[in-house]
């Protein structure tokens, strides 16, 4: 609709009050072309438009899509059986016939192992993020909303978790539960709970004082209803951004545990274990260790770029 943008500007689906135009110099139409173009659309469309404008975040999204596709369609994409031992071609270099990315010390195809490894790596890190996100959000939500002793107890617990240097806490959990894929996942998840709890608690503290929560309370809405309908829904974009930015760290941490021999155990293998076992052949066949490392690096970079882009598009307040 070719109508004047400022009159219909509905960034949040709410008509722009005249006050908003007056207080900020951003309202001068000449320098506000970008924002104005975005304001014409529905909130979802404007978020998408802001996201698309950022080339780097598109790049990140593509990387993430490729990694996720590799993980989902591993059985169809992988050229060979990732565990098939080929004694005739051990430590084959990149570009060998039949082994596009070479082979490892047992003659297993590296490309196939990377594709299958994506499955384990992403499964562990995405599940760990989901666990940390759900538990952390829940604690932050009830702590920040109810305050009082409940909040004190939660925050002291978080303080204790944060008293451990990040990776040390993960090691402590592994020491108790023993090495393994599932335990590694629990370990890295636990370490990241404080991250979500603190962010969500902060947002909750400001939302609980807002007029619409007062109004909801005024008309007799229950705490549960307010928490879910008003507080939680308003945290969603913040949590999505924090979660995406957190995945990169989860991948690194889970891979580090595997690298130390404390995470995923053979015969299952993720990129961390591949890199770890390839270390012994660093001088003879450097690609055996560096290719999985590169895979981790690129995937983490992808999630970080995607997270940065989502943050700028969804919740610019979170900018560093």
């Amino acid at each position: 609709m070719p109508i004047s943008i400022r009159e219909s500007g509905t960034a949040d689906g709410i008509p722009v009050s005249p006050g908003r135009q007056d207080v900020s110099d951003r309202a001068i139409p000449a320098i506000d072309d970008d924002a104005a173009a975005v304001d014409m659309f529905t909130p979802t469309q404007s978020v998408a438009a802001r996201f698309r404008r950022n080339k780097l975040s598109i790049f990140g999204a593509v990387i993430v899509a490729v990694a996720v596709a590799a993980a989902l369609f591993a059985p169809w994409l992988s050229p060979l059986d990732p565990d098939a031992v080929d004694a005739r071609s051990r430590l084959a270099p990149i570009g060998t016939e039949g082994h596009l990315l070479g082979s490892d010390e047992l003659g297993r195809d590296i490309l196939s192992r990377l594709i299958w490894g994506a499955r384990v790596t992403l499964l562990v890190s995405l599940s760990a993020t989901a666990i940390a996100l759900i538990v952390g959000t829940f604690l932050g939500l009830i702590g920040g909303y109810f305050l009082g002793w409940l909040d004190s107890v939660i925050m002291r617990l978080i303080d204790v978790l944060m008293a451990f240097p990040y990776f040390l806490l993960a090691l402590t959990v592994i020491a108790v539960l023993g090495p393994g894929l599932l335990n590694g996942m629990i370990a890295v998840a636990l370490v990241n709970i404080p991250f979500f709890t603190r962010i969500v608690r902060g947002v909750t503290l400001s939302i609980r004082e807002s007029d619409y929560v007062m109004a909801a309370r005024g008309i007799g809405a229950s705490n549960t209803r307010i928490l879910v309908r008003h507080v939680l829904l308003n945290c969603v974009s913040t949590v999505i951004v924090a979660g995406t930015l957190n995945i990169g760290w989860m991948i690194t941490a889970a891979a580090a545990l595997s690298f130390l021999g404390l995470g995923v155990q053979p015969p299952t293998s993720d990129w961390g274990t591949m890199l770890s076992s390839g270390r012994q052949f660093l001088s003879a066949a450097p690609h055996v260790a560096t290719l999985p490392g590169l895979a981790i690096f690129i995937t983490v970079l992808g999630f970080n770029l995607l997270g940065d882009g989502l943050r700028d598009a969804l919740d610019p307040r979170l900018r560093e």
């Binding site: 451990f164 090691l171 891979a255 580090a256 770890s276 560096t290 490392g293 690096f297």
Partner: protein, 315 residues
């Protein structure tokens, strides 16, 4: 200031208490009988009964905790199952190596990160800024063990400039030898923190450069140098110190991985071995020691923070 210091000091008590409960609980949370765990799979029934009595495992948990804690406080961290030696001297000996590594990394991170951040902010959108921020973005995403392996491959194996493992050569042992061994691990460990510091310093500086008091400083004719270093950097240092405090935790944790990559004889390497061997007294001692250290470092950071930002003191 004193009041703040006192309050902050009080705050460490419940945290340290929580840490100690968690570390104490490790042995009891682990699946299986603690005495059996401590003695390993080949233990006889007699020796298990002996250990149960020695540790007071038949007594209530509270009593066990109190006994354990009073021993820990006196530096008696128990005996390593695998090595058979006292845990505390072992940790103390290795702590030196870890401290050298992390402190050097921290210095590298601050020097590289903060200066790159300042230059990037002052020359926003310049070529330097673009390159520095691209490198920082890559640095943030680069896993430590991969950086370490690439560094070994390039500087130790291909170029043969530096040693790839250990702290001293078998023959050598002087400071120069130590420094040569230190370069790769310290740079590896420092990269991620340097990258994060560069990004944070840049954004903090950019925000401050646009403040009114910076405009005033320029308007009254101060040269650009004083404006940047006295007016802008001093205020940005509050953000920098906050980030730095968080980075120390990252460095202490990351030293575990770095030590594994470069066979650096520190606490991290010791702990990974202890976890693999289920050497609980060693793990408990190591975790408790590093966590307690971290609590005190955080205390120091907060004090520094209060010194830099008077608003904190009066909150």
């Amino acid at each position: 200031m004193w009041q703040y210091l006192f309050k902050r000091l009080l705050h460490t008590i419940p945290v340290l208490f929580g840490v100690s409960v968690l570390v104490f609980g490790m042995l009891h949370l682990a699946p299986g009988d603690p005495a059996q765990i401590l003695l390993g799979p080949e233990a006889t029934a007699d020796s298990i009964a002996q250990v149960r009595e020695d540790l007071g495992l038949d007594k209530p948990l509270v009593v066990q905790y109190a006994t354990w804690m009073s021993k820990m406080a006196r530096g008696d961290f128990g005996r390593s199952i695998v090595l058979g030696r006292e845990v505390f001297p072992e940790i103390w000996a290795r702590f030196k190596a870890t401290a050298i590594l992390t402190v050097t990394s921290l210095i590298i991170a601050v020097m590289l990160g903060v200066s790159a951040g300042i230059v990037s902010a002052v020359r926003q959108y310049s070529l330097f800024d673009s390159i520095a921020m691209l490198v920082a973005l890559a640095g943030v995403s680069m896993p430590l063990f991969f950086t370490g392996i690439v560094a070994i491959l390039a500087f130790a194996m291909k170029l043969r400039w530096l040693p790839s493992a250990g702290m001293y050569s078998p023959a050598g042992g002087d400071l120069w030898d130590l420094l040569r061994h230190l370069v790769l691990p310290a740079l590896t460990l420092g990269t991620v923190s340097a990258a994060i510091l560069a990004r944070m310093t840049r954004s903090a500086m950019l925000e401050i450069i646009r403040q009114d008091y910076v405009r005033t400083a320029r308007a009254k004719g101060l040269n650009e140098r004083s404006v940047i270093y006295i007016h802008a950097l001093r205020n940005a240092s509050i953000t920098i110190v906050t980030v730095l405090g968080m980075q120390i935790g990252y460095l202490l944790g990351g030293s575990v991985i770095t030590e594994a990559v470069f066979s650096w004889p520190g606490i991290g390497q010791m702990m990974v071995r202890a976890i693999q061997a289920r050497d609980y007294p060693m793990v408990q001692g190591g975790v408790f020691f590093v966590a307690a250290m971290f609590v005190f470092i955080n205390l120091l950071v907060d004090v520094l923070y209060a010194y830099l930002d008077p608003r904190i003191r009066y909150r």
